[in-house]
Symmetry: C3
Subunit: 159 residues, 3 copies
């Protein structure tokens, strides 16, 4: 039987939604499914490496965008009840109380388990990010590459 395949379009860039996507990606890899995650718009914030920020050659708007947006997974806000970070603090404490993995661990798991990471070319260009600011596995592709991959998948979700 052909491999089953999961395709996730990660749009939102929020802690809880990134968590949902990465939990599914890890679970699917554990079931030997192929997994592709395509990061667009705010979703790209999840894959920025805080140690590789680079403001050179950026326009004023691009610098502002880089400065105002979350740098890497642990800075992402919640999609609801964020309360300037208090709600998120509470949620991450509850995750720890349950000895459940944090977002960063699910991201590490996905990288180790060979989830395919795609980044949306147009989003990267508009927001003025540079390929070297992201985790090295990220491959910058266009929307048609995403669509071709999604078409062959058994489950596709926009998160």
């Amino acid at each position: 039987m052909a491999e089953k395949k999961l395709s996730l379009l990660m749009f939102s860039g929020e802690y809880d939604k990134a968590m949902a996507g990465l939990i599914l990606a890890n679970a699917a890899r554990d079931m030997e499914m192929d997994v592709t995650m395509f990061f667009a718009f705010w979703g790209l914030m999840l894959l920025r490496d805080p140690d590789r920020m680079n403001q050179e050659d950026k326009t004023v708007y691009e610098k502002m965008m880089a400065w105002m947006t979350p740098k890497g997974p642990e800075q992402l806000p919640l999609s609801r009840m964020n309360f300037s970070g208090l709600g998120k603090l509470m949620l991450t404490e509850m995750i720890e109380d349950n000895e459940a993995p944090k977002l960063i661990h699910f991201l590490k798991g996905a990288r180790k388990k060979n989830v395919k990471f795609y980044g949306c070319k147009l989003s990267v260009e508009i927001m003025g990010f540079k390929p070297e600011e992201f985790i090295p596995e990220l491959e910058i592709v266009d929307a048609q590459t995403y669509l071709r991959d999604a078409m062959e998948s058994d489950v596709q979700l926009f998160i």
Copy 2:
């Protein structure tokens, strides 16, 4: 011909998005499609039974979470233009003016029409909810159970 199947991942816990999911679930059952709704994170708020809240044996964070979040369908906020509840009041009045069913009726319909209700095990544990605080049909399952069901579906949506 095999039955067609709809799989909804209910993540958001907002009145209007819950409405969208339940309208689709009811319409699909009326067409004899199989329907599974998998509730994760905020989506679980929709299935809490206000008469079955139970704060015993909860940590402080779990009690706060239970207290700060909506208790059952009619307390869910709108995803947009909620205006501290005013926007939602307006929308529910407009629903009544049109003699259209409210959220609670679509939920009743889905329960009566045998939609399958799954709840995300990890979300339930982290948020400190107890299985008995939900509607009795809710079956607590893991992400792999959701994925196996979604793979066999003709339509999958993340709401």
Copy 3:
């Protein structure tokens, strides 16, 4: 080989999410895929024609809804970092700096390339919109029509 098909349920009515949906719709049409966009709830705001607003025969709530909500694509807010419009201004300036098309151009492209536009009957009724307030291609259909179309699609997303 049969045509491949993309089905998008446009729920959110935000500038960036509308952009994501329309970029995918245009890319899919360029690959000769069939594309259906089903607009429900806030998603309908994208297809209102600012020159065809009509407040006659509306209830007070319906007039308020019409007045408080965005009129056409360029008035939609961002889903994040909108900052009362400042964040959106910044994003649209960045789009121009990159000579990338604006939302309105992607919408024009989708109309020209024969994307199928469906509008949710129940949403139109509840919000008190009139069919003639929308772009003329919009066909008002029920949830079952959407589901039948989505079932035959290779990729379905809820945006």
